[in-house]
Symmetry: C2
């Protein structure tokens, strides 16, 4: 079991997707591109551009394909472009526009799964695994997630065994790049340690990712619990934007710049341009005309 | 060295002092009493009523003596009343009005110490230790703290050795109830683990307390780092109110109700009336007419 933090935690910026899909205001493509340019300049490791969802259902994500085409036409050294795929049609679109890392997930909550996809967890699991395997065959990097892994806004408690059942199915299918997502923000550090511990028992070399919302104030504490256990990739959102439109209640993700600021305080990830991230968080706050939950873009970075 | 969380973390509510001293608005005594009644009904362990500071310098704390007299005249079973003492005159006042736990501190930052008290760290240390010993002789519970223990808004980095030097002086004086306070909010979980680890090496049975501000988003993560190491008492503020008027920049304390909510998620401190704390955080937010930083009073508690 991995019990030591990785040397170089991966920053997977999901604000363009998880952040913007929670906002009513549709951000113009040109603005999104300008934000992407800043995130590329900041040198986040993975940049999630959008979701391949039906544009009628989610107009905020309607330009996802175009964004990928535009960003793939310019150099973005060191930055992997990721996109969220919900179904077979989504994978087709993702392959057509050159997504580098294809992300997809299954909710451990049947209720959440039904509301989000119209399928039960079991049915979603079969389809998502088939889609993930098709993406692997197409030569793509693939990350599979368990959504509502730490609790559900509709169902409440999600037994560990439901989460680990999905994890086992992923591992059996050869999918080892696994994210546990706290979609509603119910996770507690103790639970994070326990659940990732169980995952590492099943597959000691699993490439684990995590995703926490700060609904109950434990987002950052959960990140550090995951980091201490050897989780490798951290999904965060500029300014702490976010919230899931398909769950009952969720605050934003942990803010990218707050997490990076903390890592840099202990000598990690000095290669990321924090000042660019802080400028972006302020700009996004201005765009939405409200105080975003991130802290460091308000306080200013510590420089010693 | 203690490396296991205590079974019953002590909640030391400091909103009436650290929260209200940071606000321009002076809260009427009757309102403060009503808030205290709620905190007593909620059964927090220690309730900090105010600071024995010169009322001309800090009118928000001018009614501290009266509050103690009023609260000491009614039963408050299970709740210890604490007050912050800054000098000899403050101790006289505290003894006269029946403070149960006398708190006092020395800043590890000379600049912060000068601005806050007009004394250097060394001079403040001598005086505070003498005052603490006088309080012990008077039969009081005493907690001594190191302020700016994790960094200073003026000086930046505070070397561990400066903090541990003050800790050693406290221990030599027989003072083992020691709080490390992150006055400016600079602490990082790694630093919390390291510094409390060193403290426990010096005195394995020290009764440690901690105090974190959430200026850079790490407040709660620091609380959990302290909890994991065996720190016993946690200073928090209703609604996450707070900030130090004598440091350059500080956000509020970790919110009492968020910390208690998290503990209750893992079966700890079910004896505290969370719903009362949530109601109070909402009321205080209304009083100040702004959104307080705490999360759970906005989201509502998880009940499973």
């Amino acid at each position: 079991m991995s019990l030591k933090p990785v040397e170089k935690p991966v920053i997977h910026e999901v604000g363009l997707r998880d952040g913007l899909q929670a906002e009513k205001q549709v951000i113009p493509t040109a603005t999104k591109l300008a934000w992407c340019e800043q995130l590329i300049a900041a040198q986040v490791d993975v940049l999630q551009i959008g979701s391949f969802v039906n544009p009628d259902k989610m107009p905020q994500m309607a330009d996802t394909d175009e964004l990928f085409r535009r960003l793939n036409s310019v150099p973005h050294p060191g930055v992997t472009l990721s996109g969220l795929v919900l179904n077979e049609k989504g994978l087709e679109r993702a392959l057509a526009c050159g997504v580098e890392l294809v992300c997809m997930g299954v909710s451990a909550s049947d209720t959440h799964s039904q509301k989000n996809t119209g399928m039960s967890t079991a049915e979603a699991q079969r389809r998502i695994i088939a889609i993930a395997q098709a993406a692997v065959k197409a030569g793509k990097q693939v990350q599979v997630s368990v959504q509502s892994a730490f609790g559900c806004g509709f169902e409440g408690k999600i037994p560990d065994e439901r989460v680990l059942g999905i994890v086992r199915a992923y591992l059996d299918a050869g999918l080892v790049n696994i994210s546990l997502a706290d979609t509603a923000g119910h996770a507690h550090p103790t639970q994070v340690t326990r659940l990732f511990g169980e995952l590492f028992k099943l597959q000691p070399d699993a490439k684990c990712a995590c995703h926490f919302h700060d609904t109950y104030g434990l987002g950052m504490a959960n990140m550090y619990a995951a980091l201490a256990l050897g989780v490798r990739s951290f999904e965060t959102s500029f300014g702490g934007l976010g919230g899931c439109p398909f769950t009952k209640l969720a605050a934003g993700n942990v803010a990218t710049e707050d997490f990076v600021h903390g890592l840099q305080r202990v000598g990690m990830r000095g290669d990321i341009q924090l000042s660019v991230l802080l400028g972006l968080a302020r700009e996004v706050g201005t765009t939405f005309g409200r105080d975003l939950p991130g802290r460091v873009h308000k306080a200013g970075a510590l420089t010693y």
